[in-house]
């Protein structure tokens, strides 16, 4: 399985150094926004801790860039803890991040629902508590591809995580208390659902081979952001049909109010060109309009990826006035920026 560097179709040096070297690049490119604590492998907002502001810490395996490091900055995250590729970070990183961003108002952990992430963040929260930092945790679990049940690990956290980070970040920037910020984050997660479709597999630098095999005319409906299998493997279809099925599955689960106002997020998984993402957005806009739903805000691009996987995910969040205002609030991070 181990493959020599030069046959990896990637711009890397030693595969085991890719995360660190990429963080060095991020730090070099955005010294005005972030600083990287290389000892603890943590990306910090440049001016952290911000006194009196709730600190937002997220993290997870690498390979989903710009998530999370690209979302560190004003109006979004205070720190990101990148693990190895597709591997949850360790509690030491989370603890270091938590202490570094605590401005006295407590810290929110934004955790995607994967067994590893949950356990590591839990250990970190306990350690932070020992150190006297007030920590709240919010779990994102928006992937409708996975059946939710008490007896399983439950749903995966995917696209809604980006939206939670933006909206909770805006709430914290606006001076919200730890409880208020956590409440916004939980509300967004409750009001958001996602589904992904893959046309090709990703290739992790350490494995050097596709994570899964997929036929030339097949797609994985309901894929996870680590290449986890979804609801079913099926024949590729025209974009209009794929998007109709995705929309159907998401709305069936979300059950938005009649005439609800949505945020529509079309996310590329890494290897799908933007021209196709807009084809997908076009279909999605039609599907939602036909159902009498209003798209008040949208986001189209690669924001939570799975390395070079060709694929797309759709996230729908039911907005309300507060969430809409928080979405519009200024944000200034390497990957998301407006009003600043």
């Amino acid at each position: 399985m181990s493959v020599a560097t030069q046959t990896l179709k990637k711009f890397v040096n030693a595969p085991e150094d890719v995360v660190k070297e990429s963080l060095a690049g991020l730090a070099a490119a955005h010294p005005d926004l972030v600083r990287v604590d290389f000892d603890n492998q943590v990306v910090l907002r440049k001016d952290a801790p911000v006194a009196g502001k709730v600190g937002l810490v997220s993290g997870g395996g690498s390979g989903h860039e710009p998530l999370h490091g690209g979302f560190v900055g004003r109006g979004m995250l205070d720190a990101a803890c990148p693990g190895e590729i597709f591997t949850s970070p360790v509690p030491d990183q989370m603890l270091a991040a938590t202490k570094a961003v605590d401005g006295g108002a407590g810290v929110l952990h934004i955790v995607k629902n994967y067994t590893g992430d949950v356990m590591n963040f839990q250990l970190a929260a306990e350690l932070a508590d020992d150190d006297g930092v007030a920590v709240e945790s919010v779990l994102t679990n928006d992937d409708v591809a996975v059946e939710d049940s008490l007896w399983t690990a439950g749903r995966r956290g995917v696209g809604v995580t980006v939206i939670v980070e933006k909206l909770a970040g805006a709430k914290a920037e606006a001076g919200g208390s730890l409880e208020e910020v956590a409440t916004v984050a939980r509300r967004v997660n409750e009001r958001g659902r996602s589904l992904g479709v893959a046309l090709t597999s990703c290739v992790t630098p350490s494995a050097g081979a596709p994570t899964f095999e997929i036929g030339a005319d097949e797609m994985e409906f309901g894929v996870g952001i680590h290449g986890e299998p979804g609801r079913r493997r099926e024949k590729l279809k025209p974009a209009s049909e794929i998007v109709a099925e995705m929309t159907e599955a998401i709305l069936a689960d979300l059950s938005p109010a009649a005439g609800a106002t949505l945020l529509a997020f079309v996310n590329g998984l890494g290897g799908t060109p933007l021209i196709e993402l807009y084809v997908v957005y076009n279909e999605l806009a039609k599907q939602l309009a036909e159902r009498g739903l209003t798209v008040a805000r949208n986001l189209v691009g690669n924001y939570i990826t799975s390395l070079e996987m060709a694929g797309v995910s759709i996230t729908l969040v039911e907005l309300d006035d507060e969430l809409t205002t928080l979405w519009d609030a200024p944000v200034h991070t390497p990957a998301l920026r407006w009003g600043a």
Binding site: M1, T87, S88, P91, N120, T204, T211, G227
Partner: protein, 217 residues
């Protein structure tokens, strides 16, 4: 020798070093198992962790008692592995170490108690029950077998043979199971027919323990 077998720091160090060797050798195999029903990182995770443990051991005093040694190893796993296996195995070793306490050596019964504490830590943290297709499916029967044999008067070394065999049976028994915990649970029925990577690495770790105790000078 019977119940008189005593286990000391050197034995524990051999166990951890043997585990590290096994993880390095089996890294690609474990990763392949994880690619089938997970995210293709279990081998690299365990290898990275146990390699760090070996480095940690070198830093420790020779006089470190076995319990402390296990606690340090567990903390190292927590700090270097990540994923699901880091907290789980880290907690397991920390709990085992704490159960052993500060003595210079301990007997088979204390070993059984320590592994029960390890299992308890894993279950408390991960909430997996036997049959969920996780490392618990290997660890739980192993701990049970160890306890039975030790209580029946077997030596620690002999009891560990039975424990490792029980773990192997448990590992093989994960193949037909449908996963309901961890990443493999996302596959639903498609997880059936694959051997759980965590149960597999558990067997390698127990095999290393068996050897470390048997080779006691």
């Amino acid at each position: 020798m019977g119940g008189l077998t005593r286990v000391d720091s050197a034995t524990m160090a051999r166990w951890l070093e043997g585990s590290a060797v096994a993880m390095r050798e089996q890294r690609d195999y474990l990763t392949q198992l994880d690619a089938a029903i997970g995210d293709a990182d279990h081998g690299t995770n365990m290898d990275r962790g146990f390699a760090s443990v070996v480095t940690k051991l070198e830093e420790l005093d020779d006089s470190t008692p076995p319990g402390k040694l296990l606690v340090a190893a567990g903390s190292t796993l927590v700090s270097t592995v990540g994923g699901a296996s880091g907290p789980l195995w880290g907690t397991a070793l920390r709990r085992a170490g704490r159960s052993i306490g500060d003595g210079e050596s301990f007997d088979g019964a204390a070993l059984a108690t320590a592994l029960e504490a390890a299992l308890d830590g894993v279950v408390k943290l991960g909430a997996a029950r036997p049959g969920d297709k996780t490392m618990v499916d290997a660890l739980e029967p192993a701990v049970r077998a160890l306890r039975e044999r030790v209580d029946g008067g077997a030596s620690a070394a002999d009891a560990l043979v039975a424990a490792r065999e029980a773990a192997e049976d448990g590992m093989h028994a994960t193949v037909p199971l449908q996963a309901s915990k961890g990443r493999a649970s996302y596959l639903g029925e498609r997880s059936i027919g694959h051997q759980d990577p965590g149960a597999t690495s558990t067997v390698f770790i127990l095999r290393a323990l068996e050897q470390a105790v048997r080779e006691r000078p």
